[in-house]
């Protein structure tokens, strides 16, 4: 199994950063309005949810799993809090935030229990829960939407409101990123995620509790999904049955572009944040250079394929270099 080698990984993120800067430059040359503080701030805001959910996805992928239920989870949590606000407008926002986290916890735990205890492969578990959660959105809403005028003012203003001069939405993304950085880099459990993904058998022999890790990553991903559901619905001021449809692919794409291997064991937080920003910039650029949003899916698929092939080639070159060094 590949070992995380800091200097190489740093190089990959460096490449990605340069790519992002080149992309920004290219778009700015095409349309000068792009490189304005206002637009850049918009891109950050638009990408905030993707960054958060991609971080949860990354933790799952680092252990060798995948969470395909995130988009359905966002829709279910979003619809739940949206309807709660519609029918019980007196509930304070702080309580609604807690409820969204709790819903996410339940959804994530369900995945985690199926993977950790029932030993169902993550891809099957989350393919199943993807359609189960999406189905429950429909059962809950009976096909109706919650639209802007049915929400309270405070609810709609949640992501736009500012704390210490930063939009709440962006603040959430920053907090999640900071928490994840501390967890992944400084805690023992965080390091165990990499061990579990690198080599499960070896990890077990050195005393990593695989069950606990499997349960933990899906639950963390779920909690982030719960919060993101609330933020999504409040930001777009509508809760729909098709909310976030196809979003799970974007989170996987952000991870893969950021250098997370789908076999587990490697990937860094900064890579994933850059990968998410890369996608956010591409999406924003489509509208800025007047390309139809219908191109988004194809471009995304193409970018994913190029990224994973490039990652594999870089890895192979590194392995060759390592072998050569050893031969000398």
């Amino acid at each position: 199994m590949r070992q995380p080698r800091p200097e190489l990984l740093k190089r990959r993120e460096f490449t990605l950063l340069i790519l992002i800067l080149l992309l920004l430059l290219a778009i700015t040359l095409r349309s000068p309005n792009f490189f304005q503080p206002g637009n850049l701030y918009d891109i950050l805001n638009d990408t905030a949810i993707l960054i958060m959910v991609a971080i949860g996805q990354m933790m799952v992928m680092v252990t060798g799993g995948i969470d395909l239920s995130v988009a359905s989870g966002i829709a279910l949590a979003g619809m739940s809090v949206g309807m709660l606000n519609q029918y019980y407008p007196q509930i304070p926002i702080a309580v609604i935030v807690l409820i969204s986290l709790a819903i996410g916890f339940v959804l994530g735990s369900f995945n985690g229990i199926l993977v950790a205890l029932a030993k169902i492969p993550p891809i099957i578990t989350t393919l199943g829960t993807m359609s189960i959660y999406r189905g429950f959105v429909f059962v809950l809403s009976k096909g109706e939407w919650v639209s802007a005028h049915e929400m309270t003012e405070a609810f709609r203003e949640l992501p736009r409101g500012t704390t210490a001069g930063i939009a709440n939405l962006l603040l959430c993304a920053l907090l999640v990123t900071a928490a994840a950085a501390i967890f992944l880099h400084l805690s023992k459990t965080g390091r165990e995620l990499y061990a579990a993904g690198g080599n499960r058998v070896a990890a077990q022999y050195v005393g990593v509790n695989l069950r606990r890790i499997d349960y933990l990553v899906f639950t963390v991903s779920g909690i982030i999904v719960g919060l993101s559901g609330l933020l999504w619905v409040t930001r777009y001021a509508s809760a729909q049955n098709e909310t976030a449809s196809g979003f799970e692919l974007q989170t996987v794409a952000a991870c893969v572009i950021g250098g997370v291997s789908s076999m587990g064991g490697c990937g860094t937080l900064w890579g994933v944040v850059l990968g998410a920003l890369f996608l956010g910039i591409v999406n924003n650029a489509l509208t800025v250079i007047n390309l139809s949003p219908f191109y988004q899916m194809a471009i995304q698929g193409f970018v994913i394929l190029v990224a994973i092939v490039a990652n594999t080639l870089v890895d192979r070159r590194n392995q060759l270099a390592m072998l050569r060094k050893r031969a000398l």
Binding site: G64, I120, A253, I304
Partner: protein, 345 residues
């Protein structure tokens, strides 16, 4: 995921024979359980609605799931290889798009069929090439290509649709055998099932597919061309998706970018429900054929009593999870039993 497999792999070599014997027996049992559920579904459905056990209705409802069934056949090979193909529905959309373009340019039915099959084969080959040439896990490649293939359909069509197809093309997906009430699609599926069944269970190619799924490294050292086998299997998957695209496009008579969306989930569910193991090397065609008709008639029955499609998805999702849990759980119990017996000896 590779590692999960490795964790389960080390087993005492001398137990191999009795182990495979037990696997064979448990599979037989799994098919028996499936058959039982199938009969149960039929009986419950027949009691819930008087329209269910009508020969014409039963035959006609197969139109609703034969296209998926045709893609499920090569998916058996893909999953036995230890791989997965999430892009099949994307391939259907892409092939349908190209047929729509060709039809708009005045192509005849023969040309449309060739284009559909060719597009599917090319897309499947691209998947297989990326997977085997660069050694990338199939899930990563097919998630990307699924987005690319369907994305191309969105990019080309946007919110428009192709709806002009020649009359003889429409007959392909809607036709019956002669003047009978037997759908052409059903006959085509049964023929293909026979071909794929023979290929899997009666040829060296089929045995090699199992070998690749059981242990790719061992297979390679035993002289099995692992890369070529997987490449062929993914190409087959693409080809059959192309065929399904022809039938579906012909049946509904239009191409929209969201055509067949979400089908990958249902097709994979069917195959797994049929007893094919996600960790590779296990499964057979009979279980999957039962699974196909089980899900098909279950949905038909739910439709008759006005269950909405979204609620059906909940049922299918749970069915998938339970279908995976059951045989694994039975196997786990059996292994513990065996261990206890060994300890006693």
């Amino acid at each position: 995921m590779e590692n999960r497999k490795a964790a389960a792999a080390p087993r005492p070599g001398e137990k191999r024979r009795s182990l495979s014997g037990r696997i064979a027996r448990s599979l037989m049992e799994w098919e028996a359980i499936l058959l039982l559920i199938f009969v149960l579904v039929m009986v419950v459905n027949a009691n819930l609605s008087s329209h269910f056990l009508d020969l014409f209705n039963i035959l006609d409802t197969t139109f609703n799931f034969m296209e998926k069934a045709i893609v499920a056949l090569p998916m058996i090979f893909v999953i036995i290889c230890g791989d997965i193909d999430i892009s099949v529905a994307g391939i259907i959309a892409l092939a349908s798009l190209l047929m729509g373009m060709a039809s708009a340019a005045g192509a005849g039915t023969g040309a449309l069929v060739l284009i559909g099959l060719g597009a599917g084969l090319a897309a499947g080959f691209l998947n297989g090439f990326l997977i085997t040439r660069f050694g990338i896990p199939s899930i990563a490649v097919t998630i990307g290509s699924m987005s690319l293939f369907r994305g191309l359909a969105y990019a080309a069509l946007g919110d428009r649709a192709y709806t002009k197809y020649p009359a003889s093309f429409a007959a392909l997906g809607q036709g019956y055998v002669g003047a009978t009430i037997i759908p052409l699609q059903l006959v085509l599926f049964l023929l293909l099932a026979l071909v794929f069944g023979l290929l899997l269970h009666r040829t060296t190619f089929g045995r090699k597919v199992y070998a690749v799924g059981n242990n790719p490294t061992t297979a390679r050292f035993s002289g099995v061309p692992v890369g070529s086998i997987r490449l062929i299997v993914f190409s087959l998957s693409g080809l059959m998706s192309g065929l399904a695209s022809i039938l579906l496009t012909s049946r509904i008579g239009s191409t929209r970018p969201n055509i067949a969306s979400g089908w990958e989930l249902e097709i994979i569910t069917t195959v797994l429900l049929g007893g094919v193991s996600m960790s590779g090397g296990k499964g057979n065609i009979f279980g999957v054929i039962i699974g196909i008709f089980l899900i098909g008639f279950l949905k038909f029955g739910m439709g008759l009593i006005n269950v909405s499609g979204k609620v059906m998805n909940i049922v299918i999702g749970f069915l998938l999870i339970v279908a995976i849990m059951l045989p694994d759980y039975v196997g786990y119990l059996r292994e513990r039993l065996l261990l206890r017996r060994q300890q006693r000896e």
